[in-house]
């Protein structure tokens, strides 16, 4: 997995690519915890180039969501491939996360 971190209209954008799995989740967690510590108001995760996510990846995002909520920030996911949306739905997390179609949708309140 590769993480590119950029800014877009004041939001931090995590662009993830490749597999988010047991081996790469700890790196994602580290970055999320860093920006949660800085109390960023909006963190967007771009899934367009994610090929696979396992339970450790989903659990890491759940931790990220909890961390963002603790200071009143928002974490949104966008560009999730259909197959991965199904995994979120199966884990009943499609309603827990704010899932948007595109970056533009995600920056709108």
């Amino acid at each position: 997995m590769k993480i590119d971190i950029t800014e877009h209209n004041g939001a931090k954008v995590f662009s993830l690519s490749g597999d988010i799995d047991l081996y790469s989740s700890p790196a994602l967690r580290k970055e999320l915890i860093f920006f949660i510590g800085k109390k960023v108001p909006l963190l967007l995760v771009d899934f367009r180039d994610v090929s696979y996510i396992d339970s450790s990846g989903i659990a890491t995002l759940v931790e990220g969501l909890r961390g963002m909520m603790s200071h009143g920030g928002k974490l949104k996911l966008f560009g999730i491939p259909e197959r991965i949306v199904e995994i979120f739905a199966f884990s009943k997390l499609d309603k827990v996360f704010d899932i948007c179609g595109s970056l533009d949708d995600a920056v709108k309140d």
């Binding site: 450790s56 989903i58 931790e63 995994i87």
Partner: protein, 265 residues
């Protein structure tokens, strides 16, 4: 994808013995990737022995067991452990560790194979427990659970690492029909959503007709059928028909054979 890789498992000429007794008589089977395959057969036909070979618990006398193209029968323990990380197994009696809570049992393979933060592990554990309908039972011990709940806890542990290959040994054994149907439903979902390759050893016909994409039937250590459900229903093989129609076996001994048997010759 090559034809070989369309099959997650290829078994060739598998022969195995318990002592002098031959259990599997040189069988060859293929398990298609991303499908649910059921290994069917009566008691003592060798199906549980076959399962133990597929997960690398037993070594064959002869033959190859290729998983993702690599023969596990020729692997050392370390290589085999690498393959096992991609496998989940629900054993017949669930095989939970009684001294650990349900959550600790489910966390066991995660802690064994990965270096994750404890809070990540616990979220994973709760997600898996919720999936099998055991939310809120994290701190229970196996002795405090019913048979069906133990099985579901065993399944949560089997899927803890999101395995590519998931094996079930008699999943419905000892369960009431409603719990058994719930387990079948979960097996279907795991295949559909995660594309897991699922292998179920059973003799429960209702379950076979609910979950199977592909059926392999064993009798006395030999494969007597392999194919899709429609072909199973239409099979004219006498042993297959006996099984499907639940006809009892009438074994006829000659008086001489019977005499030799009871005197122990």
């Amino acid at each position: 994808m090559s034809a070989a890789m369309e099959n997650a498992i290829e078994v060739t000429g598998l022969r195995t013995h318990y002592g002098q007794r031959e259990i599997l008589k040189g069988i060859s089977i293929s398990i298609p990737r991303g499908k649910t395959s059921v290994i069917l057969g009566g008691s003592g036909c060798g199906k549980s022995t076959l399962l133990k070979h597929l997960i690398g618990l037993l070594r064959p006398t002869e033959g190859k067991i290729a998983i993702n193209g690599r023969d596990i029968a020729a692997m050392d323990e370390e290589e085999l452990n690498g393959v096992r990380r991609k496998m989940g197994v629900l054993f017949q009696g669930a095989a939970l560790l009684n001294s650990l809570t349900v959550a600790e049992n489910v966390a066991l393979p995660i802690r064994e194979h990965a270096r994750l933060n404890e809070s990540t592990v616990m979220i994973m554990v709760r997600m898996k427990l919720d999936l099998v309908g055991l939310s809120g039972f994290e701190n229970f011990y196996p002795s405090q659970l019913s048979g069906g709940m133990k099985k579901r806890a065993g399944l949560a542990r089997a899927i803890a690492l999101d395995p590519e290959l998931l094996f079930f040994d008699e999943p419905s054994a000892g369960l009431d029909p409603v719990t058994a149907a719930g387990l079948d439903d979960l097996i279907l979902k795991l295949r559909n959503v995660f594309g897991m390759t699922i292998v179920v050893v059973t003799h429960e016909l209702p379950s076979v007709f609910t979950i199977a994409d592909y059926v392999i039937m064993l009798d006395a250590g030999e494969v007597i059928f392999s194919g899709i459900l429609d072909d199973l229903r239409n099979s004219q093989n006498e042993r297959v028909r006996m099984f499907l129609e639940r006809r009892p076996e009438t074994r006829t001994y000659s008086p001489d054979d019977y005499f030799r048997f009871i005197v122990g010759d």
